[in-house]
Symmetry: C2
């Protein structure tokens, strides 16, 4: 925080809020804590909850005015929300969801235990329940799961004046209404009447003459990542969602999309480290440990494979122990270079930039970079190894192995994610383990193999 | 692409468009290519340009109608845009920017070479030039650099009816106007009049009675990442930007923020692999190679340090060559476990979730996970090593070293990013190199050191 005079313009960051909460918490001053958070917006409370260890989460939750429970829940990430709801009595968890809209309810139900999900379902009226069931019937990560079901629809053959009177009588518009939906008698989507137009165009004009007929709409089964790309590509605030017959069924607004954009961009980082997308930093130890245990186990297999490879060359190592000293260099450089290519490829695939038609160009580029890197660093490690051990043969072997492994790294860094994507697996999830296996094995085999062949 | 009947509802992804362009390109059919892209929106063309190797980019650019050049430029990422503008004749580059708004122009000028930047500056009228200069005077990555300078302002003491008439006379609203700015006589920001209110409230009411007086505004020097967090926390479509005296100076809209959210979430992934945020996948080989060469060089230092550490134990290795075979396991598992902690910490810092007050809890959690992982995998590697080499002492040393290194990995995976952040360095940029250095050194020292001590 900068120390400018208080103009009321300092944005409080999540960090500032978390610090304040934790210091009141440590002082045991629950009264002041309740007062502090009482004026906060749901999104602000959610940010703070996500930055607290789980016991403190429950305390803060209990201090919140019940009226904002639903709002806070709608801002929390899946895992944090599920952890919180499952750690409080079921009736409190059900009560907290009472004010939520059906699409948000569906999201909650999909993320909590079956038991709690059923309890929430049972608390709903029949109308709401069928709306939630409808939402859950759409495939995961589809537009149908994301859309809101509140909108204002008008017909194309009425005048703007009539629409204005209708809106005024209605009394309010759903949040983020940048346009009204124009539909025909059967509910088919025809276009968007920008709110702008209502304010600026001649009131006697007909809706159909003023609306954007070519306004984007998306099918209800479109993937959310495609919807997010559309919002970014077209600078949208909202988009209509239609079924396969073009009947209007919902509306996606930009604030739901911001969450998707963030999650999508963050996913490869987390997955490449064997973490869950949206992993809860403050999850209880046992929950975090279980998943990480598996990840280390997977990587241990790779490490043992590398050891087994080295074991094949035990006789060579026995004769020239200097090889053992230099051995990790080639494997490690291959891993670093390969993960650069892998990261670029994974991001390129996520952005839809890599196609069959440009893969060849990319492969050529990565090979060319490997050649440059290989030659430069082979020379460097060769010179260093020579001056260290004084054996030109070892320097030669080290340099050659480096070149071999950097080529292998480039080729596999590109090929592994492409193949995984082709067979329908997530390249970010297992790409790095497979890559390390390749660069370790090629690194040790080339170095120790060349040494056996040339030096013994 | 699924093969449903064409309902006009299939969203064309970036990948689909890139494939079409490249296949027409290969067929040499520039005529059809020009027709294909003529109907595309600026954001769609930009997506395709970013997925083309650089020579193809220039061809596609030359086929574009000149009228949309500026629009396309405003969607391109910095690096791609700079590369494109610098590869075409200066007068064409200047012409392409002619239609851009001053804030976009400032962004272009900041990203291209000084020479081209000056040429663009010289082409501007004096009004525009001073607007651009004003924008460039704000600190990089501040709200001032992001904001648009077009808005509709009204006074609080007029009726909604008067506002409606004013807006109608004006004839249009700037894009993404979800509210009008309410300002006093001196231009101080007083609140937001939602467009909603104009449509639904009694026209005789005064603006000041209807406006949101507590509407968010941000100071012009606020960091863009803070602005993005505010948009997500509050579900905003636009926000007013004010100077330190609360005078209205601009307006940030959600589509600019989507780019920030994406870039922020993607940055750690790229930086941890030693790549640039927004790295151009299809950049020319020499440009890409230079940066990657440096990254490999940095990591080579780490590798040599590890080798030097191993070299200290050459005598031990000489006596028990089995140690050389098992040696990489401990270092590699430490690296994997440490990078999980590191990744979580880097993301937590970026989200503002980690504060002084909860660091202790986090440290305790990571240590506890390291203890569980250490015990489990120490046992496993011990058993495997025993059955492989039949020497219980080696198994014991391997298991103990594993436990030591997993603790070191947890401690340094958390401490390194916290210290880097504290001293003002970017944890994602150098965190992984430092971490690997620690886990390699501790891994080799603990394994070979314990072996020297216990087995010789």
């Amino acid at each position: 925080m900068t120390h400018t005079p208080d103009t009321g313009l300092e944005l409080l960051s999540a960090e500032d809020r978390i610090s304040r909460v934790l210091s009141l918490r440590e002082a045991g001053d629950d009264q002041s804590l309740a007062e502090l958070i009482a004026g906060w917006h749901g999104g602000e409370v959610a940010e703070v909850l996500e930055g607290l260890p789980s016991p403190d989460r429950n305390l803060l939750w209990s201090l919140l005015p019940e009226a904002i429970h639903s709002d806070v829940l709608s801002y929390l990430h899946d895992r944090v929300r599920a952890g919180l709801l499952e750690s409080i009595p079921t009736e409190d968890a059900v009560a907290a969801t009472l004010e939520m809209e059906p699409p948000d309810l569906a999201e909650v139900i999909a993320s909590v235990s079956d038991e709690l999900g059923e309890a929430i379902m049972e608390s709903l009226g029949s109308d709401e329940r069928s709306q939630v069931e409808e939402s859950l019937a759409y495939p995961e990560a589809s537009a149908g799961r994301l859309m809101e079901t509140e909108w204002v629809a008008v017909r194309g053959d009425v005048s703007l004046e009539v629409v204005s009177r209708y809106v005024r009588r209605r009394g309010s518009l759903p949040p983020h209404t940048d346009g009204l939906m124009v539909v025909d008698r059967e509910g088919h989507y025809e276009g968007k009447l920008a709110v702008d137009a209502l304010l600026t165009r001649n009131p006697e004009q007909l809706v159909m003459d003023v609306m954007q007929a070519e306004a984007d709409c998306v099918a209800v089964d479109t993937e959310q990542s495609q919807v997010a790309a559309l919002f970014q590509r077209r600078d949208l605030v909202s988009v209509a969602v239609v079924d396969r017959e073009r009947r209007l069924v919902g509306r996606i607004v930009v604030d739901d999309v911001m969450g998707i954009i963030r999650a999508e961009a963050e996913q490869p980082l987390m997955q490449m480290a064997g973490l869950e997308q949206g992993e809860d930093l403050f999850a209880p130890v046992l929950i975090s440990a279980r998943r990480r245990l598996l990840w280390l186990g997977t990587n241990l297999l790779t490490a043992f494979l590398a050891s087994w490879v080295i074991g094949r060359f035990q006789a060579t190592l026995d004769q020239i122990v200097a090889l053992a000293v230099l051995m990790p260099i080639v494997a490690s450089m291959g891993g670093i270079a390969g993960s650069q290519t892998l990261t670029l490829a994974i991001r390129g695939l996520a952005l839809g930039q890599i196609t069959d038609a440009n893969t060849r160009w990319l492969a050529w580029k990565e090979i060319a970079i490997a050649a440059i890197n290989g030659l430069v660093w082979a020379l460097v490690v060769g010179v260093v190894a020579w001056s260290w051990f004084g054996i030109p043969g070892i320097a030669l072997v080290l340099g050659l192995a480096m070149i071999v492994n950097l080529f292998a790294a480039a080729a596999s860094g590109l090929a592994i994610p492409l193949v995984l994507e082709r067979v329908g697996l997530d390249p970010a999830l297992s790409g790095s383990v497979i890559l390390t296996t390749v660069t370790d094995v090629v690194g040790f085999v080339s170095f120790l193999g060349l040494a056996t062949w040339l030096l013994l």
